[in-house]
């Protein structure tokens, strides 16, 4: 028996190790494909970074253009440039920004925390509020509160992010003076760590709400329909017939099942949050990756752009993995099916 148990355990460890290795191989393959595609896409757009850089000085000559092209290897054959890029990806040396003359890893490293804070807060805010409001709407389906929540969700969904951001600045910052209009923190004032954290939190309110709004609307609508659908399942009727308390039925049986589609969509959309952050970070002068992306696109700063694509794709892949893990945690059937 002991031998059989340890044999099974060993078999399981090997299976898990193989699973992790398989996932890692897929991860590397996906990253390399994305890196190659990003490189090809970025280069397909017309325009020359040397021209952009030289042009912005208001005066240029051939020597300046040649210097820039030589300095950044833009005069190398296309294939060689692609090979250099892939080598950099593998060695995690993302090169140097054409424009800012800083290592790309430094630039991304400086901006990543601000974006993670913004998108993370917006994501949690949208998810928690969406689940809560969607559930409330479903439980009051057909009543005025359901109609109100539905209308508000649709308005939030339809509203452009930049417009919502500007309107909130106008009302809550300019008119009421409750929150800062823009920026990551108060500049030029010495604060302790706690004070600084509060200050950043204060600055985070408007951008996080602006970014969360559209996702909140989606999750609310999704959760509402999911809860309504699950509530009509036979096992819920059985639970009710068995006399289980309504609260227990909602918490243990309805929510746990209804949340699955929301988690799936949220996992898929988490990557899109970074895209939404481009606009929000611009409106609110939030020093994150979104703005770095926007500036890199304008400047044709290839190394920064490719570095950002790489980091974003890694984030999306990891988020998908997290979603898978979360899925198994919420719904044990997924694990069973996978094992079966």
């Amino acid at each position: 028996m002991t031998h059989l148990a340890s044999g099974l355990q060993g078999h399981r460890v090997v299976a898990v190790a193989l699973g992790i290795l398989g996932w890692a191989a897929k991860f590397v393959a996906v990253v390399l494909v994305i890196s190659t595609m990003s490189f090809l896409l970025v280069r397909a757009a017309p325009g020359d970074p040397a021209q952009v850089m030289a042009g912005q000085t208001g005066a240029a000559d051939e020597k300046m253009l040649a210097q820039i092209r030589q300095e950044y290897g833009l005069d190398q054959p296309f294939i060689l440039q692609l090979a250099t890029h892939l080598k950099r990806v593998v060695t995690l040396d993302l090169g140097q920004s054409y424009r800012q003359r800083q290592p790309v890893t430094t630039l991304i490293g400086e901006r990543l925390p601000a974006t993670l804070l913004l998108t993370g807060t917006a994501f949690l805010l949208a998810l928690a509020s969406g689940i809560l409001l969607g559930t409330l709407a479903a439980l009051r389906a057909g009543r005025w509160s359901d109609t109100l929540l539905t209308v508000v969700s649709l308005i939030l969904y339809a509203m452009p992010v930049f417009w919502l951001g500007l309107m909130m600045v106008l009302v809550f910052s300019v008119q009421l003076g409750l929150v800062p209009a823009f920026g990551f923190q108060t500049i030029g004032v010495e604060m302790g760590p706690f004070g600084r954290a509060l200050d950043i939190g204060h600055h985070l309110i408007l951008p996080a709400i602006s970014l969360a709004a559209v996702y909140l609307a989606i999750y609310t609508r999704l959760m509402r329909s999911s809860v309504i659908e699950v509530a009509q399942q036979d096992y819920i009727k059985t639970a009710r017939a068995k006399g289980l308390a309504q609260g227990r039925i909602i918490a243990r049986h309805i929510l746990r099942n209804a949340i699955l589609p929301v988690v799936t969509v949220a996992g898929m959309q988490a990557g899109a949050l970074v895209g939404g952050a481009v606009v929000v970070e611009t409106v609110f002068a939030w020093p994150g990756l979104g703005r770095l992306t926007y500036e890199a696109v304008l400047q044709r700063d290839y190394p920064v752009l490719l570095g950002l694509f790489l980091v974003m794709s890694v984030i999306v892949i990891l988020l998908n993995l997290a979603t898978d893990v979360l899925y198994r945690f919420i719904d044990p059937r997924v694990t069973t099916q996978a094992a079966g």
């Binding site: 042009g55 000085t57 240029a60 030029g188 002068a285």
Partner: protein
Amino acid sequence: MNRREFAKLLSAAGVAGATDIAWGVTRAVGQTRGGTLNTIIQPEPPVLVTAINQQQPTLTIGGKIYESLLRYGIDLKPMPGLAQSWTISPDGKTYTFKLFPNITFHDGKPCTAEDVIFSCTKVLTETHARARGTFLRIEKAEAPDPLTVVFTLKEPFAPFINSFDCTTAPVLPKHVYENTDFRQNPANAQAIGTGPFKLKEWVRGSHIHLVRHEGYYRQGEPHLDEIFYRVIPDAASRSVALEKGTVQLTQWTDVEFFDVPRLSKLPNLEMTTKGYEFFAPHLWIDMNNRVAPMNDKRFRQAVAHALDKKAIKDRIYFGLGKEATGPVSSKTRFYEKDVKTYDYSLDKARRLLDDMGLKAGAGGKRATITFLVPPYGESWQRLGEFVRQALGRIGIEVVLQGGDIAGWGQKVSNWEYEMTANLLYQFGDPALGVTRSYATSNIRKGVLFTNMAGYSNPAVDKLFDEAAVATTDAKRQELYSQAQKILCEDVPVVWILEQDFPNFYDKKLKNVITTGIGVHETFGSVSLG
């Protein structure tokens, strides 16, 4: 230059120097010392070393950190900078500058004539495309003593004296940059200059913090303790920052043109369009002279008649500017106002098109032109739309084509365009900022801001060449006037506007705009309250 003119120049230089020193002392009295200036920088500059990068934001902040030998007044006359006086030899080839004593770099080391020579002859000729054209004319550079710089030119070049503002000829520390790769020198991150402010902190994406240079050589300066340049990418947010008092100064395009009338009414703000005289931004409709029908000057003249410059100025730029009459801005030296002008007249435009045989076909259409809309913001799109409608009235169908900065730059510099718009600086002298757009020798494929239209006229080339080396202002004026008259007859491009940009600042701020480079100046004399 004759002896009398030379003497006049000498005395003017001396008086200017003496006046400025006295002035500095007077200004210091009664001015508040201390305080913080919050302002905007947009977009965020790549570096702060103006010798290496000459983008506008770099120059705005770099102007506080780096200085040059001279400054230029609103009237573009030279004033003392690092040099307290200067002389020009009668043959116009030797320029002698005397530096102020006790100038130090931010690292505490003294700034001497050797640093000036090193910067002009070694660094700028390597890294600064605009300065290269000027400083490669130096035959010999000497420092007879630590406070004297003598430049001897290969041949006279009158605009040489206009080339020592801090955006063109910043002085770098030789002891830091000598025998290094100037672009990759680690000191670029510290930005070591002689200016009244030095870099304390740069939080990328957020702000750049400058603080007082305690060893600054001008007594009593700077008045301010520190300057924060905040990176605020969204125009609406920048206006909010100004309205709320979060920032006390905006410049260039920080504020959208349509916001200018509203912000001008705020009681706590002052607005001025002064401080752009050195750059003299000149806006024009660029036409590829190589391509029909733009290769016929009657077509270009017709376009000039069909565009209502006043309407463009008032409706798109909200009155910020002056209608341009020719290739030289009235702010720039040697402007000639007595040139052929093109009043707004659709009849004249149609007659010119008829004369050249471009008759109206079905639906009144004579030709179809593609207009590349410059990708620099809202006003350019409006300008494109205006051109489309205006030329439509004379039977020219204009197709607007958008794109991004890189795409636009590539097409225009490679002459793959028919019509576009452009805004170029004149840098105080036609030889520095005007000739480049019309000289045959500057038709250079693949290089932006050269003679992209492809205009070529040997008579104009000769006049420009002679004017650049003429040693008296009278002679230069005569030659440039002739060149302007020919160009206004040929209209290689249609000059629209001498564009102004608004500087908004809190009324508590004093001495904000004192020279022809405005907000790019050192701000040593700026004070609060």
